[in-house]
Symmetry: C2
Subunit: 312 residues, 2 copies
């Protein structure tokens, strides 16, 4: 297996990405090979300083990058040699089995849809993230930003994608899928969630447990939380700001600690024809390492094959 | 001035409501008279036990109530003698100058629209709530649930209503109005926020400062946060659950303390022809007292007249 990593992505690249790759390599087995995409000349001194033999890693050298602020579609189109563009080209050609970057989120989304493309039957892919549960583990929240406007069909499909992800990548048995709404009763909600509820309760593809409210986000019995990308993005950023506040104020608690994005590494794009993971812009080596391990888990679990089978 | 209070509304009524009314009466001036609507026979023993002369209070006696779980429109229509229905009848006839209840939120919303009605020019009223700011004070978040589906025009009007509320009831000068969105740039968002941004930036009626994200909710420079009622409700309930967690985990902090709904008492319905305030279902006497004082402030500031003038 070949795990692709954009070493130019993120606020602390290439330092954080290279150090994360080194840490990951220590736990990867011999047949799990990292492919580092980016400026090799900038990476080599970091390996040297860490006392690690860079020749053990595969490199795809390029000096071009897509920055955080660039327009995704334009950047992907006009910069074919940027590390993100090269990563997707390799992914499409089978040179790597997964691609991860803590760089431009939009470029990662657009790149995945342009290159490996959406799985036939999936209307729109979704970005998923982990939400800590009160007692232990995580639930999967999606979509958190790929689709600002959704139709009921999209939410139904997010239920399928999230359920498969929880089941195969997080080994959750018969994952409980909930719809984020503004009331527990079936008839509550806006037009979108109301119609989505009707579709989801008839769905055979996953275990729908009904509506939850904003206050239920961290409940232990939930494995997957479905919402449109606007709501998900607002919720995610609000939760992150709360976590930051608890850190800033010196509150230590095992639950709040699990908000730390470093632990799960990144947010996968579900519904495209290969494992693609977007890291947090502020990813440190620990986050990069875990993003690589999540890439491995997505490849190993054959998650994409499960999605293809479900939407066939 | 006559301040109407439903003494049967809320999980701890009539005990919490009567005790709250007693506390409020201690700080109200002589010309600020409370009108208590509900079962007088249940209220009298509470006065007696508190050693307070009940004859100093005005009562509208009724034994009928609308419970928390009842269908709002049906309840308002079929129970004309329920405390909430009587409250709105009095409000419409001018027997009271404001009406507050910690009871059925939907009945309060429907009741206000059926009785005193929406201010001409206002498409839909909105429910506003207070969000603590990091350093001091509160911002006003609206809508938090009256309108699950909104059009851009609604959001524009929420900006006007929120700005007037911050200005006249909270004495905020030239309130900074922000749009809750999923990106700071003008072109970011879903179709609703994108179109609303275009309208809001051209608005003369308030000081629009642009988009904010979920992570900016508690920023000190924001006075009013505009969103649709679905997003607002999810955000509010998520924030409440975070606050509950910090309390449960024993974190003490002045910022988190200000999440406590007791301090601001209730959520006004903005855009109807009289001050109407909805209390939290779990209101204790302190919350009821502050809901009464907020009623007084809304009457004294002539908030409704300001709204009428703005939409004329």
């Amino acid at each position: 297996m070949k795990i692709g990593l954009d070493i130019m992505g993120g606020d602390f690249a290439p330092n954080a990405t290279v150090l994360g790759a080194i840490e990951a390599s220590k736990v990867l087995s011999n047949d799990q090979q990292l492919v580092l995409i980016g400026n090799k000349e900038l990476a080599l001194p970091i390996f040297e300083q860490a006392g690690i033999d860079a020749s053990l890693f595969e490199f795809i050298h390029t000096t071009e990058t897509i920055s955080m602020g660039e327009h995704p579609t334009k950047a992907i189109t006009h910069k074919p040699n940027a590390s993100i563009s090269l990563g997707f080209q390799l992914l499409k050609e089978g040179g790597i089995d997964s691609f991860a970057s803590a760089g431009n989120t939009g470029a990662m989304l657009v790149g995945s849809m342009f290159s490996v493309k959406t799985v036939p039957g999936v209307i729109r892919p979704a970005i998923a993230t982990n939400v800590p549960r009160l007692t232990s583990g995580f639930s999967v929240l999606l979509d958190v930003g790929a689709n600002a406007d959704c139709k009921p069909d999209n939410l139904l499909q997010f239920g399928i994608l999230g359920s498969l992800y929880a089941q195969h990548v997080y080994s959750s048995e018969n994952p409980a899928v909930a719809l984020l709404n503004i009331g527990e009763e079936e008839e509550k909600g806006n037009m979108l969630t109301n119609a989505a509820h009707s579709l989801m309760k008839e769905a055979q593809a996953f275990n729908f447990i009904g509506n939850i409210e904003g206050r239920d986000l961290f409940e232990d019995h939930i494995d997957v939380i479905v919402c449109d990308g606007f709501t998900g993005n607002v919720v995610l950023k609000l939760a992150e700001s709360f976590y930051s506040l608890t850190v800033k104020k010196g509150f230590k608690d095992p639950f709040f600690d699990r908000f730390n994005y470093e632990q799960y590494g990144g947010s996968p794009i579900l519904g495209v024809n290969a494992p693609v993971i977007i890291g947090h812009g502020i990813s440190n080596p620990e986050a990069i390492k875990n993003m690589i391990l999540l890439s491995r888990d997505m490849i190993e679990s054959k998650f994409v094959d499960k999605v293809k089978a479900a939407f066939k």
